[in-house]
Amino acid sequence: MDGRFSGSRRLWLVRRLLLGAAVVLLVSVLVFAATQVLPGDPARAVLGHDATPESVAALRAELGLDRPLISQYLAWLGHIVTGDLGQSLVTREPVAALIGDRTINSAVLVVISAAIVVPLSVFVGALAGRRRDRKFDKAMLVVTLGLTALPEAIIALLLVILFSTSVLRLLPGTVLLGPGQNPLGQPAQLVLPVAALVLGVLPYLSRLVRGSVIDVYESEYVRIARLKGVPERVVLRRHVLSNALVPAIQGTALALAYLTGGVVVVEQVFNYPGLGTTLVDAVNNRDFPVIQMVCLVFAACYVIFNLLGDVLTVYVTPRLRTAGQ
């Protein structure tokens, strides 16, 4: 009855996995459809203003853009299934090579940010929830409200002005990463992008934690624990946090999914070579295979984070974990 999942759980997991795969597949159809509606075409984007009708037609034929849509999609899907992510229409490089290290770069950014923001939010949120309506809580509410009032792009700009160019000249305000270079090799460059992402997610997550800590504090079993004579600090640690964790896990999953989207803006500001900048470029160039792949990666992250969140939730919630036994 412990750690291991029951049979019905395993079934649930399989169902969720299939569902997730279906979501990703549908996303690919949607993105494909969307790319067809995009005005302009990659051949033109590649050739620029020197393009002649013949050269455009030749390039279109070469890129396979003149085939019927369905066959283009199915061909693409067929290749994906066999592990061939296709070729960038623009650089003619394999998509896998193109987005491979950028995916890692983005992942580094997201993982570091998450590794900072999750414990920080839990700490801040729990403290505020415990000192509800007292000074710390009020200060935290004002700060988080202020942070949500600033769009991420502006936060990022402010950070650059404050720490890089104008006020203090402590940190690089631009990220320069050669291809294949490990972003961890230059930690100083990562500080500001990570800070921007952390500040973007912190208000949401810490308030979520605060809310659920308060909910649990209000719960009957915490009252009962107190009436059992359990000291206050143990109440927080043992009775509150263990139960307040569940919404925090769900929130973290959402926040992670959000972070993967948030990198679009932050990467843009910091010139960070990740999926976000790749996507913006690909959209500008109408580089469909790349757009599709990046969107798929985002969608897959969303699905995976959610699934992980759910699995973890099930794992830490005895009621769910032991269901069906």
């Binding site: 079993y221 107190r226 009436l227 004579g229 000291p231 143990v234 032991t322």
Partner: protein, 607 residues
């Protein structure tokens, strides 16, 4: 030996200078069970938790003293209170499902008490004590059981775990706050027996808080009656139930339905006032039929009518001298020919998912008759009722109304049958749309069924409100402005406005105080007499069955085990199951002592 002494206790709402309870004095001897009864909102819980030095968020202990084993509790710091709680004084909450931490295993939750109160106790001793206590409360003491999480227990088992938590360190005093409200009668009987046993064997003083008079009657040595934050009467159980003096106590007792005899239930008019809105003088005077002008102005002092029996009433001595409570009028059951059969249910099998919850159920309901459907919790009563009204779709079998078959879904039924059969839900809090005024709620059926214009409907609404004894002005109010009893009347009005022939009532009084329940029951009976309504009355309260029903059908695990005229079934139960049910139901009129031999069932938990 006195375990706890309370004097002049007062609890105020923060910042409002309004008291929730005041002038509370009592003491409990070791091994004694003191009952604390009163209507909802009278301040029982508030008074109870003060023994642990606790007041709920938004309230504080404003005065008085609580001496527990020689130590003053009022004014202790958090640390000292923490030492006291759990070891010297323990608390058993109302809802065990909410009170146990869902993330911790039972052993952990039990062991925690040693961790903070007996840190030196060696592990094997702890284990032995935990297991002994588990056995004492009638639970499995195996390690596997202790490794369970709360959600893996039944409601009764959960309640027993909270008892084990309370008794584990053998406290001096234990406060039990309605610990059996959520349980069915058989489980309740077992839990009560456990409480009584443990208190006696460990010489624990218990304060037993409840609104169920019958429960206290069978359990407590002494009883206090609370009204509007004051103790209005206190004395030995036998005195309180045998010779009650305060008009409030008398009225409460008269409202309790009995299984053993059919009697007229009398209701107390009005509602318990909330803190801050309590009338001056004797707080009960607006609802008291003996009140005179003095009652409105003079605050009554406690009067000891006989030694140990204290009454807070201006006329205490006069009432004490009068012959005790005039015996409640016994009423005769309605007999005679059954009328035309309106509703017929034949061979219904119903399912929740793949699980079959009704097996071949058949019954008939005749015009003007009240058919009670009884059975323990989970036996399928609600499911059956929902099949009939067309809310539960997953079933087979036939149902006819006036001979015409009823479609499975309400939506597919004829307008005529949707009008003629009406349903009243259990919870008056849930069955009214909180965002719509009473008037709107009552106009809705008129609009949907008759397409009636708002103007015309207004007259109907006013009329129906009067029929359920509510003022027509209530049409403008919203549900949260009404008391539970008033809401349930609105729910009845919503059914009545359709001019139905059959009313299905699913435990419509179980969320209400006995006095309010009495008034609802009276209302239903009146409607039945005046309008010839047929009632399908779902309940697990056998006293109510006796009071309202003509026929009764008993269900067990989805099957009908017995049926017939009420008096036949209740006086001469044919099925063992019905007999057990009757035996487990606490009765007021039974000899009120703490005599364990009177307990209906043995301690063993059959699960």
């Amino acid at each position: 030996m006195t375990a706890v002494t309370v004097k002049g206790l007062r609890v105020d709402l923060d910042g409002r200078g309004v008291d929730v309870v005041d002038l509370v004095d009592f003491e409990i001897a070791a091994g004694e069970v003191l009952g604390l009864v009163g209507e909802s909102g009278s301040g029982k819980t508030t008074a109870g938790v003060t023994l642990l030095g606790d007041a709920r968020r938004g309230a504080t202990i404003a005065g008085g003293s609580i001496v527990l084993g020689g130590q003053e509790v009022v004014g202790l710091g958090q640390g000292q209170l923490a030492k006291l709680r759990g070891s010297s004084v323990a608390y058993v909450p109302q809802d065990p499902a909410m009170a146990l931490n869902p993330a911790l295993r039972l052993r952990r939750q039990l062991d925690e008490l040693f961790e903070f109160h007996r840190p030196d106790m060696p592990e094997p001793d702890r284990d032995a004590r935990i297991k002994a206590t588990m056995r004492e409360v009638g639970l499995d003491d195996s390690d596997a059981f202790l490794a369970r999480f709360p959600h893996q227990l039944s409601g009764g088992q959960q309640q027993r775990v909270t008892l084990a938590l309370a008794f584990l360190l053998r406290p001096r005093v234990i406060v039990l706050d309605e610990p059996t409200t959520g349980l069915d009668v058989t489980t309740q009987a077992r839990v009560l027996a456990t409480v009584r046993d443990l208190c006696a064997s460990h010489q624990v003083a218990a304060l037993y808080v409840t609104h169920d008079m019958a429960v206290v009657a069978g359990l407590a040595h002494r009883v206090m009656v609370m009204y509007a934050g004051r103790i209005v009467e206190a004395g030995p159980s036998s005195r309180i139930f045998g010779e009650p003096v305060h008009p409030y106590t008398r009225a409460l007792i008269a409202a309790v339905p009995q299984v053993s005899e059919r009697r007229e239930l009398t209701a107390i008019p009005g509602d318990t006032p909330m803190p801050g809105r309590r009338p001056g003088g004797c707080a009960f005077h607006p609802r008291c039929k003996h009140a005179d002008p003095a009652c409105a102005t003079t605050v009554p002092e406690p009067v000891e009518v006989v030694p140990g029996h204290i009454v807070r009433c201006l006329h205490a001595t006069r009432f004490a001298a009068e012959p005790a409570q005039p015996a409640p009028a016994l009423t005769a059951g309605r007999t005679g020919e059954r009328g035309e059969v309106l509703l017929e249910v034949t061979g219904v099998d119903a399912f929740h998912g793949r699980k079959q919850v009704l097996h071949d159920v058949s019954l008939t309901l005749a015009k003007g008759e009240c058919l009670a459907l009884v059975g323990e919790s989970g036996s399928g009563k609600t499911t059956l009722a929902r099949c009939v009204i067309g809310l539960h779709r997953n079933h087979t079998g036939t149902m006819t109304f006036q001979g015409a078959p009823l479609a499975t879904r309400a939506r597919d039924r004829s307008r005529e049958s949707r009008r003629a059969i009406q349903y009243i839900f259990q919870s008056p809090y849930n069955s009214l749309n909180p965002r719509r005024s009473i008037g709107e709620t009552l106009r809705e059926p008129l609009k949907v069924l008759f397409g009636m214009s708002a103007a015309k409907a207004a007259a109907e609404v006013a009329e129906v409100l009067e029929r359920v004894s509510l003022s027509p002005a209530a049409a403008a109010s919203y549900p949260d402005q009404l008391s539970g009893g008033e809401r349930q009347r609105v729910a009845i009005a919503r059914a009545l406005v359709c001019r139905p022939e059959v009313l299905i009532c699913d435990e419509i009084t179980s969320a209400l105080d006995v006095s309010v329940q009495a008034s609802i029951v009276r209302l239903l009976r009146r409607l039945q007499d005046e309008e010839g309504l047929a009632l399908l009355f779902v309940t697990h309260n056998l006293g109510l069955v006796r009071a309202v029903a003509d026929h009764v059908v008993a269900m067990r695990a989805g099957r009908i085990v017995e049926g017939g005229p009420v008096d036949d079934v209740l006086d001469r139960p044919g099925d063992q199951f019905t007999r057990d049910l009757i035996a487990a139901t606490p009765e007021l009129s039974a000899v009120p002592t703490g005599d364990p031999s009177r307990l209906p069932l043995s301690l063993e938990d059959p699960t």
